[in-house]
Symmetry: D2
Subunit: 378 residues, 4 copies
């Protein structure tokens, strides 16, 4: 089977996320980067493509140009899947146009800027019958997958408590100065949608809670923090969670936890044990059992599930990181495109992105109504 022809929108010279997607796509020899629109300025786009030694004919002025010209190519040459790495507000129109023109889509998170858009996208995808992935990067870590497998297999029994945390500190140096915060696009609702902290990182935590447990969150109660009255965007918040079957949980997110880098943790406790994972030390999974020694599981060992093992390229003791995690997601997408999907959860679905958008809106609603319970269901 040949490599999958990959296009990219965005992710040019100065993009941080571009390198993550390019390296990830190359990890398992499943993709060939063919072309795309790397920058709104065409010349910059061409320059970048040259650096990557791409065929300049496959570098387009904009998405219209892309769609038109690629469409004229024979199917055997045409780009098959497109990664959308543009600013958030462009995710929706671009993904929609791609779906409508027969492309599979890999979309950075957040999926869209509103829940409404996300629902439209869902309908479009269903009509197009295309593969659509939303890159919740952290779900690709082998020990996150192992956690999902173990919970599914009943290792910790019936779940009775879910606790997710996502703490960063990077907004702190910006938030206390009026000018600085005015200059921060993340704090501008025009550019970032209605939420900063919940939108950017709270959704990761929300997705992870559902991903590892296999449960759906049904109802939430949120208390957000804006710190200054003239700041329109939440930068910290706690959300009480109710899953199906009355299971309770709590989600904490912050961008003013000064000094924290990317402290994303997940803890799930069942009636037979507990599991804990931390993003900053992603190669350790902690299994707690009553009156048993604490167990620390690591990637690559035979005791891990096949799903986890698929995501480890070297023997135990050779730490892999976030590029490898994204690489595993790209592998999952490639397998889906090649109709070789082996594992449920091998990549995050459009539905995960949709639920994330719903979560953002319901969270802000709960807070604005005075910290009351709000149902996720429309």
């Amino acid at each position: 089977m040949g490599k999958i022809r990959l296009g990219i929108l965005g992710g040019g010279e100065e993009s941080l996320i571009g390198i993550l997607h390019r390296v990830a796509s190359s990890m398992f020899d499943k993709y060939e980067l063919v072309g795309g629109v790397f920058d709104p300025e065409h010349q910059k786009s061409l320059n970048f493509a040259k650096k990557l030694q791409l065929n300049p004919n496959r570098v387009y002025k904009d998405l219209d140009d892309f769609v038109q010209k690629e469409g004229q190519l024979p199917e055997s040459e045409r780009i098959q899947v497109v990664s959308v790495l543009t600013p958030n507000f462009l995710h929706f129109p671009m993904a929609k146009q791609l779906l409508e023109n027969g492309y599979n889509v890999i979309c950075e998170k957040p999926l869209t800027t509103t829940y409404e858009e996300a629902k439209i996208l869902k309908q479009t995808q269903e009509k197009a019958n295309a593969i659509f992935a939303v890159t919740y990067t952290y779900t690709g870590y082998p020990m996150v997958r192992q956690m999902k497998s173990m919970i599914k297999n009943g290792e910790i029994g019936k779940i009775q408590k879910v606790d997710v945390q996502y703490y960063q500190g990077w907004i702190n140096p910006l938030i206390h100065d009026k000018e600085k915060r005015a200059a921060t696009w993340r704090l501008d609702p025009e550019k970032s949608g209605i939420s900063c902290c919940i939108g950017d990182i709270g959704t990761h935590a929300f997705n992870m809670a559902e991903y590892v447990t296999g449960l759906e969150i049904h109802e939430i109660l949120a208390d957000l923090n804006y710190l200054y009255e003239d700041n329109p965007m939440d930068i910290d918040g706690t959300v009480l969670l109710r899953f199906s079957e009355k299971i309770k949980g709590v989600l904490r997110a912050s961008q003013i936890a000064t000094g924290e880098e990317n402290n994303f943790t997940v803890k799930v406790y069942g009636d037979k044990g507990g599991l804990k994972w931390e993003q900053e030390n992603p190669n350790y999974l902690y299994l707690l059992k009553e009156d048993k020694p604490l167990q620390v599981l690591k990637p690559g060992h035979v005791y891990n599930s096949d799903f986890s093992l698929e995501g480890t390229k070297l023997p135990p003791g050779h730490p892999e990181g976030i590029f490898d995690s994204m690489g595993n997601i790209y592998l999952g997408i490639a397998n889906a495109i090649n109709k070789e999907t082996k594992f449920e959860g091998a990549y995050p679905l459009l539905n995960d992105g949709l639920r994330g958008m719903n979560f953002i809106e319901k969270t802000v609603a709960s807070h604005k109504k005075g910290n009351v319970w709000v149902k996720m269901k429309d």
Copy 2:
């Protein structure tokens, strides 16, 4: 100056907590254990006293006997302070009687079984003008004291986020079996008051949040978990906190976090840095600053505050533990009795116990009213 004459109520042969208080009282050569009532059965009390080589004349049948006979001794021989280690419901009447008869009191937590009792006790103490300590043991750790000192000195600037967690798993093996939970006194409101999880460990977390920050919590919103409809006692809960000056926080407590032992953590983030501490590794204090290496402070070093250093008996690298923490609290009480108090916060006050009782009642009220905000102020 001679040793302080100490009496004990409870804490006999089978008591776990008795050894903690006895060892703690002996640590700095400040106390002499003289007598008390170690067991409701007088003979058992005498046997235990014999083992401790105490004078049997100072072992009393009950508190009435204690008060009467000690009262007949000259002041220079009379017991000066009494540790109340009896079951929770006896704390209030015993502490009250002791105060009314001129004794200083060291009381295990919870202070009483109701907020009302606690308020009465407060009045009684004010009238008696006695020293009264409530043994929130964890506040005696050197690195907790260092955390308090650093926050007070502005090391992390203005506080903007407080996060406390107290997770245990020990109720899990009891809660899923109707008979077992009926046989657990902690789950019996008659014996334990209106709350299990919040009452037993949530109060520790509440106290710690106020202790290290020097702030008061003004308002709370609680979501408790009972797991079974016929279980009358909370065994898990999350409480949203509002401190003075609109500072927000969150408190999480659980006794069904299966496999957790005594996972009590405190995180405080200010606009200049963050501080984190974990009870299970009590000799490490983590200081986070933007764009600076993470710093790990340890006991006994010259960079610590005098208050912290008072609580370390050996040079750095010689780990001390929970007995030493309680020893530091006993030292603080001894200094208070000897009118030699050097540090604010050297031992937890009756007011801390009072606020704890208030917290329990307001938390349950918030939950029962449907997870609404409740003010701490009466």
Copy 3:
């Protein structure tokens, strides 16, 4: 059974080690501190005894005075065991005199200043048939005891590699300045014997290697470091070890590992698994097995040996420390005196101290001869 009457030599007002022994002796209500010689200046000794509320009649001018006057007391009142906490060079004459006069002895390490003295002491003890403990404090930690139990029970199979490390940094600020190092008694052979680093901490590592494995070291090859030619005392060294049955090991000790506090670690690998322990985090024992999750054992759990469990006073999650470790050793000694010994290894024996002295001399000999193999056997 009454409490054991304890005497102390040394350990007065300014002693760091005095408080460790006093608190340790009080932990299990097994000892009553009766008297001794706390300071060479009698008045200071009396003042200190007053603070401890001891009977001044049991405070003696010197050891001759102690032996003479205690000897006149009826046996039921006489001190039964004496802790020798005086400067190193006094350990030998004092311990000898105590043995010759019928006392059990608890001696701080190093046992003596020469191997020759240690051998004489051994003969004296055998004649006296007395209990004699050498306080290698670290062997009292519950997880060290658990490690010993597990190795004994074959948990890691046949041992094939032993690795002990004891790194400190405190000599670094003294060693580079000629005046400072001249003023440091540890660096004066007159006061400290022929070795500094190996004598002070290398012996701990040596003892621990034999203690947990139950093996004897037969042969050594040492490379010591003196850093300056005019410095007569080693401050760092590596020792290759050969145990019985050709098992190999390595011991590393340093007092110039700048910034290290008391970083004492033990690793033992057998053909069925490995065990690791670190003094600065003494409540964790790591069990490694091929293709199994790492296991972390903690004190107080039912999966621990009875020997380990005897040394834990509170439930899991309540960290105990070095005072508790020494307390366990005092408990072992009390049980021996009361002829109630339950566990092999409950306290370190004179023979451990003797082997330690032998190790020091053989290590220095190996180094001085040009880093050659030297047999431990005389």
Copy 4:
């Protein structure tokens, strides 16, 4: 500047190391994989190339074929650098032939099977004036580079102690069974040279000790372990080190440290501080200073050196791993080929591989002569 044309020898379908080199080479868009000899069976080689979508014309039967046909291509198309990933005994002849035909070489370690070969290779390279890298992968980690930078800048002052450890357990399940060990190529001197443990992992530790300190090791004394008399290959060993200026160190390596995965650690202590790093948690660098809090440095922060920062692709808190480490080495090689080298130590040199071969032979010699000092200098 166009991409560098890369060839690969070995690293085919079943190779573990192939994926590491391919992903690493793709990380910074500096290389284009053009062709090579992926497998001794030509058809397998072609199949693998097809999977990678390489031009089959650039897939050669063997190295002779490679050299001949590539040589006929114009220089602007010809492969510029070749990664040698074949079995150890082929490194020497292949690298030599490549050098003699004008190619730059990236060679897996060990460089050769004998020190003699390595010296010949050195001469060949000098004549060819080619870039030659030996992939000591671990030197590419950002925090290893930061350690090197800090030591160079005097952060820990004059070095006085070096301690390196490389512990694995994977030989344990093979060594105790005569048949299994006969079937292990690592234990066959014909295939692996004269040493197993020192050759495979001891050399990594040796290289790291020299790399981070910038010092040369002058003299060694080794004690190796073979465990069974009929086993010709060391599987464990301790080596005493003497660097220039009488600085002492110790290197420990083991493949029978049962349960260890890839536990490679480096500690360097100077008169102003200490630095510690562990391969299994590669994103933490520990800085120890007297009477200062322990500092933990992490990648991507402004406080790191430019050299370290070049090796981090994402902001702090996004853990990178061993693929990224190798990617940094490939970046260093690319910069050298492009004559844009910015940092000393950006990739390991042939001289590092040469010194490694020397170390292996001198270590075995020291052991065989009875654990005596052997000079590294010929």
